[in-house]
Subunit: 412 residues, 2 copies
């Protein structure tokens, strides 16, 4: 199967010699290389590669137009991310095209294989930016002004990549061509790990979001300033980190403070400013609101106790995504055909992770296939899928596409 | 008085247009400019400027040799520091030379005006590095290998500045020339603020140090990893920040976590590593040990609770410095002559801040004069001394130097 060769080709791009972690950031070095790799691999296959107004890539099998089936994922990574999150869905889609052709399959509809930009928000902070832009989910002016850690804006970085940042925004002509979108993705947990199923189907994406908290204190000498005279923003930060964990436990949710910028970040300089980010997710909107409101209250209280000012802003929020039940059940039926009956029904899984499929689902009937991950780890060099399971994912995707590309009229 | 002109000349060097904070980092831009300013100001005065083997500058009034009196301070800053911490003692020393000359004073001994490198540890992390090197207080090989935030070593930065890093280390020939060292410094608290005294005298420097704590967790996806499966180093960090504060309160000490590096520092990526620095100071060694041991225990316990590994290393420690009582009383007597009797005795003050004077005090009789700081703030753009008090500091220093430079034989 061509999957192994495609996978081996992409594997070194952006991989750290240290520990094998990936560093692929939108509009820069390794991410640009990975996009070039995609363009070449798709062109070699006779697919017609186009860049949409937001910088997402689309490789067409058949003429672009209404009634198309779309698949794909992303190639960017979190800092020091894993090999599979994103690339498995892109490589898997190209391999599925090869698989369908090797079966002698002739599609009745066109297929678009997509690579979304900035899915992780690893450079500009807003996840699923490419799909949000295309579906009108974010104001283009706000997107243009997003900055990376060095202060470079999205507009500047996109222009430096040779694309026109003035053209970004909702792309109904493109999105309107898609009758259905299916994303193949590595599982980001161990729900499949102890089953006989290499492939599962998504049920929902938890509502989730990112909140930025700016704790403004007062710069002072850490050695000479009396404790009572301080306005040290590290103290409310600490209370907030612990409150997030406690509230996540209470509501069976996830709440994490994994990123903070400390100014000036000197050993003996009480910070004037600490900016920290809350990532929160829960099974339903009420639980998420309870977690986020609770963290805000705890942060507010601790900030007040320490004479620190607090400003909280939602950077991105995504409501509950419940994937189309009809489509999900249709996919589960197709996937089940490759698994012995003794394995039991194909697992239907919720996830805490956001995906471009989640963003698209408000506009297009959407589904996801998950490939088993024995470590359950994601966003880390330890993220994994056995090659055998990767190939099973390609077969499943090919089976699903074969069905969707054959169906007459509107797919669902 | 020449103080105002000298001060106005140096003031813009390395000052941020934003909020007036200073950014002077050893061997780079603004710090190099400030050193060049010093060399020119001293040379213009007919002083002979020499760079010692460790990169400290010495402007000699009279021939270098045994029996000399030394004064001075430093020109580097913490990130976004104030204008006075360091520069006041350098500018003040040059102004004191002018003042003595304007009085027609002829010294019986030589005077050396020093500018120590890397007093703040703002670039390479070890404070008082220039004085530590000169007095043999740090292994030269360790100093050469110290790195800044960009990974540049002390050796590389020093070589780029045109100096020989292989030559650094203990400099007994230089230190042996000094019979006494007096440092003029802005006060870093408000002990003088509500008195009639513009100038006080140092009694002691609290024992203090910096400890690096590496919390090694496991990189994971913040949205998908179950709470129980995490090894999130932000959680023990939070406990450690709060423990430091509680222990400082308990022991009437200072303990601060003001600097941390989070890897990879992504919103949805549980960190693999958090490095944080503890700055701790206390009135005596027992109290300091109680604070530091307590923080270590709390950090250890929290790390264990969360499956995180912890390594703690002392980066620098400085024992209690008790300045020479004879010299201190002699200075207080001299300073008192300029203050009305109704002001009461000249304040004799301990401090939580480290100084090159503290490092030298183990080798040379040493004293410090503090200039009143109405804000009490230090290491911040709000650090302040009224110009009138700055001039009073220069007069006090000139009076003291006049006495020391006239005394026959060994000074104390």
């Amino acid at each position: 199967m061509s999957f192994d060769r495609l996978w081996a080709d992409l594997l070194p791009v952006g991989r750290s010699a240290d520990d094998g972690g990936y560093h692929r950031y939108t509009w820069a070095g390794a991410d640009t290389d990975a996009r070039a790799w995609f363009t070449e691999a798709a062109t070699t296959r006779g697919l017609d590669v186009r860049t949409d107004r937001n910088g997402n890539l689309w490789a067409w099998w058949g003429a672009p137009g209404p009634g198309a089936v779309a698949t794909g994922s992303h190639l960017d990574s979190v800092p020091n991310g894993g090999a599979f999150d994103g690339p498995l869905g892109v490589v898997g889609a190209l391999a599925a095209v090869d698989e369908l052709r090797s079966r002698g399959f002739t599609p009745d509809r066109s297929l678009a294989v997509g690579v979304f930009v900035e899915e992780e928000g690893g450079r500009f902070g807003v996840p699923c930016l490419g799909s949000r832009l295309a579906t009108g989910g974010i104001d283009p002016a706000r997107a243009r002004g997003l900055t990376d850690a060095a202060g470079t804006t999205w507009a500047e970085a996109m222009a430096a990549a040779g694309l026109d940042p003035d053209g970004i925004g909702a792309d109904p002509d493109l999105i309107g061509m898609f009758d259905v979108f299916v994303e193949l993705h590595v599982e980001q947990g161990r729900a499949l790990a102890d089953t006989a199923h290499p492939v599962g189907v998504a049920s929902s994406i938890w509502p989730h979001g990112r909140w930025r908290m700016d704790f403004t204190g007062r710069a002072d000498h850490a050695g000479t300033t009396r404790l009572l005279d301080r306005a040290d923003p590290m103290l409310p930060l600490a209370h907030t980190i612990l409150a997030a964990r406690a509230l996540a436990e209470e509501h069976e949710a996830r709440a994490t403070v994994a990123k903070a910028h400390i100014t000036p970040n000197g050993t003996n300089a009480i910070p004037s400013l600490v900016s920290a980010w809350l990532d929160a997710r829960a099974a339903d909107q009420d639980a998420l609101a309870a977690v986020v409101d609770g963290v805000r209250e705890a942060a507010d209280r601790a900030a007040r106790d320490h004479g620190v000012a607090l400003a909280v802003a939602a950077e991105s929020t995504t409501p509950l995504v419940e994937f189309s039940h009809d489509l999900r059940d249709r996919l589960a039926g197709i996937v089940a055909d490759r698994v012995p009956e003794s394995a039991g029904p194909v697992p239907i899984l919720p996830t805490g992770a956001g995906h471009d499929a989640g963003v698209l689902s408000a506009h297009v009937p959407t589904a996801m296939l998950y490939v088993r991950n024995p470590t359950g780890v994601s966003h880390s060099p330890r993220e994994w899928a056995d090659p055998e399971d990767g190939r099973a994912g390609v077969v499943a995707l090919a089976d699903v596409l074969s069905d969707l590309l054959s169906a007459p009229g509107r797919t669902t």
